[in-house]
Amino acid sequence: MTQRKYTKEKKVGEGTYAVVYLGKTEKSRQIAIKEIKTGLFKDGLDMSAIREVKYLQELRHENVIELIDVFSNDGNLNLVLEFLPADLEVLIKDQSIIFKPGDIKSWLLMTLRGIHHCHRNFIIHRDLKPNNLLISPDGYLKIADFGLARSLGNANEDLSSNVVTRWYRSPELLFGAKHYDTAVDIWSIGIIFAELMLRTPYLPGQDDINQLDVTFRALGTPTEANWPNVTALPLYNAINVYAPPSRQELRNRFSAATEKALDLLIAMTVLDPSKRCNSTQALMDDFFTESPPPTRPENLPSKNTNKKQKTE
């Protein structure tokens, strides 16, 4: 019944759990239809599908992907989403595109605005990475993929620490913390911020153990002195103790960053989650008011404009 309102025109991607089609609504608005193969799940509805629908229905924001509709046919669940042709990972990897400081600032700002909206609604995203930051045709960045999201509820409740793609996983998650909060998202955004400046992943661990080593080599090993009670976390180990990086080391690492950019990066990647800045503090940071101003979304680099420039 509902399906007639939408057309599926082209298959654009297929994963183990969903197929994505491009299509149009009745009013010929471009959309993406994410068809989740619930038929394959002999064990009832997939939890992440329920979560994704639940949170996207609740959240409406310029920097969060819009869920237009949900319908099911042939035992499959279909999410009708707004059409977002690119993602930040593609742009970062495309070395032919040059990022200006204002561009990086603009993407970071839009990410923070989107996550601030999630956090003020007590929702943790738990899977922020460039691949999940989609870009609309007019340049707006939108947070997508709420399959791992959850709401911050009862403080007594245990949370799963096996969340967030490894490279963007915060130290408390690496240590297997069962109680954590929105600070895990801020960490991820900090690492994405670094990646935007470096144009290569900042902390690319090969496995969970190696991730600890890579993280602390770059940012110092947490100790009771800078993170009280860290040693009580389930997976805490400090086999290799690295000193925290000096300001000069960070300056060398991020040669293009201004002092204010470094300040914000440091604030978002504080090891102790209780001392890490929150989304409000990050948004109020001086970095966003110093020159250059954030680039307007429509002027941000994108795959298409770049190709055009090449052919010109």
Binding site: D43, G44, S72, R150
Partner: protein
């Protein structure tokens, strides 16, 4: 004492019989059940020997799954929503209520917790009453009826749980007023001492100030006791039969003609009716 605080306290309580009974009556109020004798045309396998009451069914689910109060009682939101969606003359078969409750519990567990039993586990928890396909079907049926709207809002919880919150609130406000009386007495005494002490000098002004203060606080703290919450939500839930009366025959006959994607485990005509409602 605010509803929010009472809700917080409630969510920390262990599951008790009052909660289970309330769930049973809420679930029973959703739909009428037709006795099995008349279910000749029914194409879903008959119940047979596994005739288990809704009460013991729910008790078993709680025992096997070790579900905690917040997840368990959140099902009330889905149950109430479903009750509003179904027409008053909806009629189910013997296990319909069991299926409704189980699917509400599955949705609640999956949408609230990081890890939840899988449907194959839930199937086991039914002690053979339902098979995996029936459990899956019930789950999908419910989420479709809810239009995938599985969000639970605090306001709704406060309304749905009011019968449990009222005693908590009155207990708390009693405690508060006792404490407060103590404080007032303490101040009164100290004021009395003070005014005795400084009677000779400018006693009148100070003592009047103090008595004003105690009067005010007395007023504030006795307020909660006077507040009476409307019982409408409770009474309407517990007296469903008055609402669901006539027109029972037509729903059964259409059971067999139901050719939707999935066969309805919640076996009734509401789909049709729902469509009418929507188009109207």
């Amino acid at each position: 004492m605010s509803d929010r605080e009472a809700l917080k306290i409630f969510s920390r309580q262990p599951v008790n019989n009052d909660m289970i009974n309330y769930l049973v009556s809420t679930t029973s109020a959703i739909i009428q059940i037709k006795p099995s004798k008349n279910q000749v045309t029914n194409n879903i396998r008959p119940l047979g020997k596994n005739n288990i009451s809704l009460l013991s069914f729910i008790k078993n689910l709680i025992r096997y799954s070790n579900v905690q109060t917040p997840t368990l009682m959140a099902t009330l939101i889905y149950l109430n929503k479903l009750r509003n969606l179904l027409p008053a003359n909806a009629i189910g078969m013997e296990t319909t209520r069991h299926r409704i409750f189980l699917s509400a519990l599955i949705l609640s567990a999956k949408s609230l917790n990081d890890s939840s039993p899988l449907n194959k586990h839930w199937t086991k928890y039914t002690d053979g009453l339902l098979n995996i396909d029936e459990v899956n079907m019930a789950e999908r049926e419910l989420i479709n009826l809810l239009n995938w709207n599985v969000n639970i809002y605090e306001e709704d919880l406060i309304i749905a749980l009011q019968p449990f919150l009222i005693p908590i609130k009155s207990k708390l406000s009693k405690k508060l007023s006792i404490e407060n009386n103590k404080k007032i007495n303490y101040y009164r005494n100290s004021v009395a001492n003070l005014s005795n002490y400084s009677l000779q000098s400018n006693s009148s002004s100070t003592s009047s100030n103090y008595s004003n203060l105690s009067l005010n606080s007395n007023y504030i703290y006795t307020q909660p006791n006077k507040r009476s919450y409307s019982n409408s939500s409770i009474s309407s839930i517990s007296s469903p039969n008055s609402l669901r009366s006539s027109n029972s025959n037509n729903s059964i006959s259409s059971n067999s003609t139901n050719n939707s994607d999935y066969k309805l485990p919640i076996n009734i005509t509401y789909k049709k009716n729902l469509l009418h409602k929507l188009s109207a």
